[in-house]
Symmetry: C2
Subunit: 425 residues, 2 copies
């Protein structure tokens, strides 16, 4: 397996670091628009693990240009293109990988566009629609695009397949629930506002109309921040207010897993919801450029890019952050004994541990873990397929087994949890 | 009197329109960086009042360049320079007017800089400090700079002098209190967020540490949004939550009026306070440029300029706005009979009326009214002075009389109110 990793930002950097402890691949080309960033990732790996003898190579890439993605992939004989940049670059990397004859993985799907007249009830262009529309091309070429293979989407979708195969006869709801108790402090020890994930992506997810799937209705949308609920997260995180958010799981799970309802709720918390509402109210979430004065005369900038430029890079927050983040799937229905069952399948990532082991903050590290496991399963032939497929299209058991198996035994040493919850309610 | 009006934005435009009904001046040069904006103001005046026979002239000006201000002032033989642009241009217009040998008026004073180490308790550079430091130059030149002559500061300061001369023997507090019940709607009739005054200035006022003056302590600062109180505004506006805000009155009134305490509280309301806090939290109030990507490569823009660029121009909100705005001064102390007295002196501006009469929204119109009255008193010689003076330095009675006198009798027809409040508490 020869991997072209596109993007050495927070998640890309962590993917390379996690992969550095594994032996399943022959080459990983760490590429970035900023070559120095790719080189810094490889320098860290070699300082930690010694010389890699050319197993990691840095390259410059323009992810917005499919031809450039194809060029770099062909130059290094890439068999797999791993997309680790913002979702706005999905179309170009997706096209560039196919043209290079490589398989493709990403952690977020092509972007949605709201319904032109009824954005808060009907879907317009859905997340991933552009990619699924190209599935025939991938099938014809005999290539695989494994889409949505981060933690959420990604691990959550693996949990959905696992629940359907091993825990339930009938599923009422597949509800991804994400929450954390992370706190970021400044040098003086005061709590500061600093999102732990790309603000660009967070705005996109949270301000787009959330999508819900119901078996007898199909996909539909609601107003942002709808259906707030308090969800109790494990391992000391505790209760967090969660609201509906547009997310890939809702588009992926119903394609492969039988359920009556599929939702995604994100534990944003009051403060963050207030901030996102304000950004929207002021038009600062906009991605179309506005004309702004500058010392060099008027310039055109997207307000959302200005918001992102003013915040600390999430990848740099690790040393100032404390707490844990939890990704998981809440499932209700009839268990294998046909009695009502309610479970929460989850994985918790602790910032103290990810910083000590990887110098990577826990949210980006948790995202990065899952595509590396998936690549390893693909390299081994345990997972295989063609066309545009979500994580649910593959057997969940080998994934979860490899993930949980101790490192000493060749696994990733990342335990996941299953809480039976019916008696709590 | 030959007036050079610098700025044909919301307030400048309204100044010209209000002046057009008066005969006290020989010439008003309406100047703007954007010549077309100045011309549009004059076109409106001529379409409403007929040809002005050259009494109004449009000119292009660069307010950031003192030499250009001097050039335009000299070219038209200006006797008075009326500054109607953002306060960041105070230093250049102030210097340009003096160099041209003209008198000068503004509605906001030179900007403050927070104390470098104790910003929430000690003052650094105060509002107007730069201007007052140049007072000897103005005195030597025999020229007058009448600073802070809008509505707040401006009319509020006139009220302070009036209270000291005519209502009180001893003043405990001079508390400017500003509140409104304005609502802006979009085409569909939904309420939208759209500040009725320059967001640039509003951010500056509200996020800088508020300044308070006490006789036995001098000027000191607090944290933003301090000392919230519910203040009851007249004429149907009702109760509004007001908080301390940095404002010129606190710097002006103690220089000429004897009082134990001087404060300024602005009726921002919960929603606006939340928005301002968020802008601050995200660093979007910053005026130093940040590096932002754009289609033409990285550019440097000030986040606050981006916030302003994304909001509707306050001057354009009039047709979509309903409600009233109230500017006034709450005064407590011992009345002329040496008994405790508490009064609120105020002026209310109703958007429906200002739109019908002037096609100008009420907040900018109310600001614009007062410097025109002041110019008329200066033209008549009723007010005169040299050096850098605030409105309190002049007799308040002729101002308030001319303001309230019916238009049919040569006044401005703008009643102001006095509420005795002691018995309400």
């Amino acid at each position: 397996m020869r991997i072209l990793l596109v993007g050495a930002g927070g998640v890309g950097n962590a993917i390379a670091k996690i992969a550095a402890r594994r032996t399943f691949f022959e080459l990983m080309v760490v590429s970035d628009y900023d070559l120095a960033r790719a080189e810094a990732t490889i320098d860290w790996i070699e300082s930690k693990h010694g010389s890699q003898d050319g197993r990691f190579i840095a390259a410059q890439i323009d992810a917005s240009n499919p031809d450039d993605v194809t060029r770099v992939a062909l130059e290094h004989g890439a068999t797999h293109v791993m997309n680790a940049v913002e979702p706005k670059f999905v179309p170009t990397i997706f096209a560039g990988a196919l043209a290079a004859g490589a398989d493709y993985l990403d952690m977020a799907m092509s972007l949605s566009e709201p319904h032109p007249t009824n954005p808060h009830s009907e879907t317009g262009v859905k997340l991933g629609d552009d990619q699924f529309a190209q599935a025939p091309d991938w099938e014809t070429a005999g290539r695989l695009a494994l889409v949505g293979m981060g933690v959420e989407p990604g691990l959550s979708d693996v949990f959905a397949r696992y629940a359907a195969d091993h825990l339930f006869n009938e599923i009422d709801e597949l509800g991804t629930r994400d929450g954390a108790n992370l706190v970021v402090r400044d040098e003086a020890g005061n709590e500061i506002f600093a999102p732990s994930f790309s603000i660009w992506t967070t705005i996109e997810e949270c301000l787009n109309p959330p999508v819900v799937w119901e078996k007898d209705r199909g996909w539909y949308t609601t107003a942002p921040f709808s259906e707030p609920e308090i969800f109790h997260f494990p391992e000391g995180i505790g209760p967090v207010e969660c609201v509906n958010v547009e997310h890939e799981e809702v588009l992926l799970m119903p394609r492969w897993v039988d359920a009556k309802r599929v939702t995604f709720k994100y534990g944003l918390g009051d403060e963050f919801i207030g901030i996102l509402k304000t950004l929207n109210q002021l038009g600062l979430d906009r991605t179309d450029p506005v004309r702004v004065r500058s010392a060099d005369g008027p310039v055109m900038v997207a307000p959302r890019d200005v918001v992102a430029a003013g915040l600390p890079d999430p990848a740099t927050l690790g040393p100032r952050m404390t707490g844990k983040t939890c990704a998981g799937l809440w499932v209700t229905g009839l268990g294998k004994d046909n009695n009502p069952r309610e479970v929460y399948l989850y994985h918790v990532s602790d910032n103290e541990w990810t910083m000590a082991e990887y110098e990577s903050q826990c949210v980006v590290w948790q995202t990065a873990l899952n595509p590396v496991i998936a690549l390893e399963l693909l390299a081994a032939g345990t997972w295989s397929g063609r066309g545009v497929l979500g994580p649910e299209a593959f057997d969940a058991e080998p994934f979860l087994e490899l993930m949980a198996r101790p490192e000493a035994d060749g696994g990733y040493g990342q335990a996941w949890g299953l809480e039976d919850r019916l008696n709590e309610h």
